[in-house]
Amino acid sequence: MPFAVNGITETSAAGGQDLTVEIPATNSVVSEVEAAINNSRFVEIQIYEFNSTGNQSAPQSTQTLIAEFTGQVQGLSGNFTRLELELGSALAPVGAQVPPRKYNSFLIGAPLRK
């Protein structure tokens, strides 16, 4: 089915590496992308380059891979006929995540108070 994808960006700067894919909201697509975001599935995007001049039947078997991307469905939006998938990783640029563990009542009970 037809879909649109924006450019793939590789960078050493933080953030902004997400990729957006637009795809028709058919029953099977809605089902698959909902499962993808619910189960943190991976999505692979590969962009190939080929020249089909004079070859109307099918793309050539020899194609050049010019870009690829692996990510998870981070965001999902759209309307009744179209879905927009935001692919990337869940490394949030804001909010505290490390150190990963915090003191809680299970670990230390009610601790010493001075």
């Binding site: 649109a4 994808v5 924006n6 450019g7 793939i8 960006t9 590789e10 960078t11 050493s12 700067a13 933080a14 953030g15 902004g16 590496q17 997400d18 990729l19 943190s40 991976f42 962009i47 380059e49 050049t64 891979l65 010019i66 870009a67 690829e68 991307f69 692996t70 990510g71 998870q72 965001g75 935001e86 692919l87 990337g88 990783s89 869940a90 490394l91 949030a92 640029p93 804001v94 909010g95 505290a96 995540q97 490390v98 150190p99 990963p100 563990r101 915090k102 003191y103 809680n104 009542s105 299970f106 670990l107 230390i108 009970g109 009610a110 601790p111 010493l112 108070r113 001075k114």
Partner: protein, 749 residues
């Protein structure tokens, strides 16, 4: 919420570290006070991670663990105070600490125990200060809330017990531990479990523990190369991580101090050295080969954008690099080393970078400063070019070196060139084919060697070890050379803890016992079970008609007369699946023929109800038609598996089915479009006594076997019924059901 903005080229200097002045300069992180009051842990604060590994008598970290439980009691006759503390040393498992490395204040003293994944020590927390008979005794002002203990899941804990004479004010001094080998992780370089001082090991541990990035999205190859780079150049992490931070921010900021950049390539995270490296991972100070040369042949119109580094970021400055001198058997203390170019910035300005929280090697701090100085000195601009698609689409990556050589026609016969080497900072590959490269100037000397790399490789500290300044060791009660490990003593579930079953909690200190709640597993989401039941709108209410209904068979004809549906409009025929209710349009008719909108029922509608919907024209609506009116609805069309005891009407031939088919070829059987009556005459299927017919289409040619022609139009009559009906009206008969019906041809085809 995501806010997308353009990425101005002017920000690149800050993004790539050319200008990165610290926002705040403060006291060194390693300058902890030794004789402050003992700190207590609080619910909600991070569990510290002690991450270090002593190599060649260098490394390790001096930490000040916080107490979670305490016991205080005094002797009645002497008022001697016994203090017991339960301390959390680090997340994870640590090697046993020797007695010589544990302190209270600046002195080695007390009785210690160390354990993992449980509470250290067997004493019961509480304030048991009582009366004393000692004349003029000090009143011990000890905390009243002494802790209730916990599970200490996946933590290394310490128990400290010591006694203090009456009026000794040191009873509440902070406890310190010199950790030579920190938390054990699986090291990426040798794939073995143990302490590590490699920044990449810590980064991977934090990434995995935070569950922010799936394992698939970690570029293990790149991470291994980065780990080799820090290892080969002695950039080691010996520190305690206890400040709550954003993971990406911490990885980026701390990675800078290891001359690493956090990159995301093909969706996967990795670190890449900020200087060119050799095959053995040392800094490459030789000739640099560039991977590709962009010329005007590649450049697209308006595809050249340049931004020079502002003067404020190129000014000569002196860097004060703070690191930590960590003696082998004593308290570490912060040191600073000033790094600048000869005869430049002799009187400032100064910029301070504090690496003392993790850097125990002077050369490490000096090389970081050298990198920053060289970048300020040599990197003059950043560039963004938009080029057409080419072979470099798949070959160039972040950190690769390329050359941009563009001819500039400024004078007749004397063209100039923009000819520089660049490091790739960002690649944007558009589906339109154009590639946008954001580049940072990569300065080289006349031999095409990296000026920055050569500066970093040549930089080293003075190498002076400053005496710690301690002269009095008399306060030590334990030996400064005793390598005996602390006793492994503790309890899994103290009697004074109140565990009430539960799952025990996972690494994150999850629900367990009386302190957590685990919800039942999430259920599958369902769909509404009630049918749509919207209130009727009187303004849009339409009167459904029942122009046809009941049982119908394939071959029947349904009619909607213009007498009943007289407005100009359309009639749509739908079939509705009797099981799923799914509705499918069969036909749309906008004009009646002979006064009727007509539908011939076919076998395609079997097991479906047929519904006719009429709409009158209404130009005021978007569709051009008004509210729908149901004109009729049939019962589900029955299946076509009924078969009769038939004879075949084949011209003049009348014989049994078996005999007839024995000489015919492959055939199709389907329900005929018309029904027949008792005497074999064609009848409308909706008429009383009508029975369906079966049409056989035979493919045969007796005179030329294997060459087929078709003949069709055979009807089956109900032979039994025909003999007994005696009139046009037949009684109901039992109709056998068959699942399949095969015809065989007997010739050689």
């Amino acid at each position: 919420m995501t806010i997308r903005i353009a990425d101005p080229l002017g920000l690149l200097a800050a993004q790539n570290g050319v200008s990165d002045a610290p926002a705040v300069e403060a006291a060194a992180a390693a300058a902890d006070s030794l004789n402050s009051a003992q700190m207590a842990a609080s619910i909600g604060e991070p569990v510290p991670i002690v991450f270090c590994r002593q190599v060649s008598s260098n490394g390790g970290i001096f930490v000040s663990p916080k107490a979670t439980e305490a016991r205080y009691e005094n002797a009645e006759s002497t008022n001697v105070l016994t203090v017991s503390l339960m301390l959390v040393l680090s997340e994870g498992s640590l090697a046993t600490v020797p007695i010589k490395d544990v302190f209270q204040g600046a002195c080695r003293k007390g009785t210690w125990a160390q354990t993992y994944d449980r509470r250290a020590g067997t004493w019961t927390p509480g304030n048991n200060i009582g009366s004393t008979t000692l004349s003029g005794a000090t009143i011990w002002d000890c905390p009243q809330y002494c802790g209730t203990s916990g599970r200490y899941d996946n933590m290394t804990t310490l128990s400290y017990i010591n006694t203090f004479d009456d009026a000794d004010t040191r009873w509440d001094n902070q406890v310190h531990v010199f950790v030579r080998n920190g938390m054990q992780v699986t090291r990426i370089l040798d794939d073995s479990l143990g302490p590590s001082n490699n920044f990449i090991d810590l980064a991977l541990y934090l990434i995995r523990q935070s569950s922010q990035i799936a394992e698939t999205l970690i570029d293990t190859t790149g991470m291994t190369a980065a780990a080799n780079f820090t290892n080969a150049n002695s950039f080691f992490f010996n520190g305690q991580f206890s400040e709550s931070s954003n993971l990406e921010e911490w990885l980026t900021a701390t990675g800078d101090y290891f001359l690493l950049r956090l990159i995301q390539s093909k969706g996967k995270y990795s670190f890449k050295p900020r200087v060119p490296v050799n095959a053995n991972h040392t800094i490459n100070t030789g000739k640099i080969d560039f991977d590709f040369t962009f010329t005007e042949e590649h450049l697209l119109p308006d595809g050249f954008e340049i931004e020079y580094v502002p003067l404020s970021d190129r000014q000569d400055i002196a860097y004060d690099m703070i690191w930590r001198q960590q003696p082998d058997a004593d308290i570490g203390f912060p040191r600073s080393t000033q790094v600048k170019y000869v005869d430049l910035a002799d009187s400032g300005p100064y910029e301070q970078h504090d690496l003392s929280a993790f850097c125990a090697y002077e050369d490490h701090a000096v090389k970081v400063a050298a990198y920053k100085l060289a970048r300020r000195k040599y990197v003059t601009h950043t560039l963004r070019i938009t080029v057409r698609s080419g072979t470099y689409n798949s070959s160039l990556g972040i950190g690769d070196i390329c050359r941009v050589r563009l001819r500039r026609e400024t004078a007749v016969g004397n063209p100039g060139f923009h000819d520089y080497i660049y490091e790739i900072e960002r690649i944007e590959k558009t589906t339109g084919g154009a590639c946008v490269f954001t580049l940072t100037h990569f300065p080289i000397d006349s031999q095409q060697r990296s000026l920055v790399a050569r500066t970093v490789a040549a930089a080293s500290g003075p190498g002076v070890t400053i005496d710690v300044g301690r002269t009095d060791f008399s306060c030590d009660e334990n030996s400064a050379t005793d390598d005996t490990g602390l006793a492994n003593q503790g309890v899994d579930y103290p009697a004074f803890d109140a565990p009430t079953g539960g799952s025990g909690g996972g690494g994150g200190g999850g629900a367990g016992g009386a302190t957590g709640t685990e919800l039942s597993a999430p259920e599958e989401e369902g769909e509404p079970i009630e049918p749509p039941d919207n209130p009727e709108d009187s303004l849009e209410e339409t009167q459904d008609l029942e122009l046809f209904s009941g049982e119908h068979d394939p071959g029947d004809e349904l009619n909607v007369s213009t007498d009943d549906f007289s407005c100009v409009g359309q009639v749509q025929w739908f079939k509705v699946d009797k099981n799923t209710g799914e509705r499918e349009l069969i036909s749309t008719q906008t004009e009646a023929i002979n006064g009727n909108y007509t539908l011939q029922i076919t076998v395609d509608t079997i097991d479906h109800e047929i519904v006719a919907i009429g709409r009158c024209s209404d130009p005021s609506t978007a569709s051009g038609f008004g509210a729908p009116i149901q004109l009729g609805k049939t019962d589900p069309i029955p299946t076509n598996t009924r078969v009769y005891n038939n004879i075949i009407q084949n011209g003049g031939l009348s014989t049994s089915t078996t005999e007839h088919l024995s000489w015919q070829g492959p055939a199709e059987i389907r329900i005929g479009p018309k029904c027949i009556g008792c005497n074999g005459a064609t009848k409308n299927c909706s008429e009383s006594g009508a029975r369906p017919t079966f049409q056989i289409i035979n493919y045969y040619r007796p005179t030329k076997p294997c060459e087929t022609i078709t003949n069709s139009g055979f009807a089956f009559q109900d032979h039994v019924a025909n003999e007994s009906c005696g009139g046009d009206d037949w009684d109901a008969i039992d109709i056998p059901f068959v699942q399949s019906y095969e015809l065989f041809r007997t010739d050689s085809c």
